[in-house]
């Protein structure tokens, strides 16, 4: 019996190009972030620090190329993401007041009612805004430091360095929280690192507003309306 048969209808949550972009971020941002902390704290000798800087630059290349290619070939996904992270209403305020119910669930083992969310919950939206602006700042200041450090005005390079450091620390620490919550929400982890699909009932639980308004049956499928199918 296939996974599909076991769990009923499935929804494609993360298309291939988004999963490839996520891999680009893993292979680009993670090495750049880890080596960034070593470049900042300088715990090793000169030759190892130089190797670490080379890894940092390779990571930056992968990260930058991933962002450019994704923006060009998946502009609709970038627009959808940007619309989502900047769409806030009273449900987000209510969600943030209870922190999405996560502290109660993780620390007290209690499940409390949480306002229904779209494809991204309010915490993910905040992370998305940080990633969008922080990512642009990191890439721009990083390449400026790489290319123009010896020739650009010293004051400008000082502030570029400070912005690169502070934004790097904030995003570097945030990404560890992202990894923890990604693994905690195991279904979402399997979806992103698997074939991008999720059982419909799981999506209905985490993203009811998205399931209600933003998905449709695949052409040729005999399923008509989301939410009417019973999990198998």
């Amino acid at each position: 019996m296939s996974q599909h048969d076991e769990h009923g209808p499935r929804v494609l949550k993360h298309p291939l190009i988004s999963r490839l972009f996520h891999w680009g971020l893993i292979l680009g941002f993670l090495p750049a972030a880890l080596t960034g902390f070593f470049i900042w704290l300088k715990p090793f000798g000169e030759s190892l620090q130089n190797v670490i800087m080379q890894i940092h630059i390779v990571g930056a290349c992968i990260l930058t190329l991933s962002c450019i290619i994704y923006t060009i070939f998946a502009l609709d996904r970038v627009v959808a993401f940007t619309r989502r992270i900047f769409t806030w209403d009273s449900r987000d305020m209510a969600w943030m007041k209870v922190c999405g119910g996560y502290p109660q669930k993780m620390l007290l083992g209690k499940t409390i009612p949480v306002p229904p969310m779209g494809k991204m919950n309010s915490g993910q939206k905040q992370m998305g805004i940080m990633m969008l602006f922080g990512g642009i700042l990191l890439v721009v200041t990083g390449w400026a430091l790489y290319a123009f450090l010896p020739v650009a005005p010293k004051a400008a390079m000082y502030w570029f360095d400070m912005v690169h450091l502070v934004v790097g620390i904030v995003l570097g620490v945030s990404v560890f929280a992202h990894i923890f919550l990604g693994i905690y929400n195991w279904g979402e982890f399997l979806c992103m690192f698997g074939d991008g699909t999720q059982p419909l009932h799981e999506a209905e639980h985490h993203n009811p507003v998205w399931v209600e308004n933003e998905i449709e049956p695949v052409k040729g499928s005999n399923i008509t309306t989301p939410g009417q199918q019973q999990p198998g």
């Binding site: 499935r10 494609l12 020739v151 699909t197 049956p217």
Partner: protein, 103 residues
């Protein structure tokens, strides 16, 4: 091959959004290219001016060799022992960086 029954509805990018994204990206790229070109031009100008200044100083200088420079010989006599001493090497020797391709 992934099998699924539902898919997200297509996202329509409006003309206004498309022009906005292209405009912002274009502005960032154009500003970056302008700043980079300006910096490289300035750098080249300063390197040439600096090189010319050194040549001009050299033409005017009475003492043109470091081993005949009284200040240098004083440093070795009073402080750094002799040329190529360990202390002199530690303090004065630097790595050579070829910058001729910069101009």
């Amino acid at each position: 091959m992934a099998h699924y029954d539902y898919i997200e509805k297509a996202v329509k990018v409006s003309r206004r959004e498309f022009i906005g994204i292209v405009g912002v990206a274009g502005a960032i790229l154009w500003t970056g290219a302008y700043v980079a070109t300006d910096l490289v031009q300035d750098r080249t100008k300063y390197i040439k001016l600096r090189a010319q200044g050194i040549y001009n100083d050299d033409v005017k200088a009475k003492v043109r060799q470091s081993h005949n420079n009284q200040a240098v010989t004083d440093v070795y006599k009073k402080f750094a022992q002799n040329p190529l001493s360990n202390l002199a090497e530690e303090l004065f020797h630097t790595k050579y960086v070829d910058r001729t391709k910069l101009v």
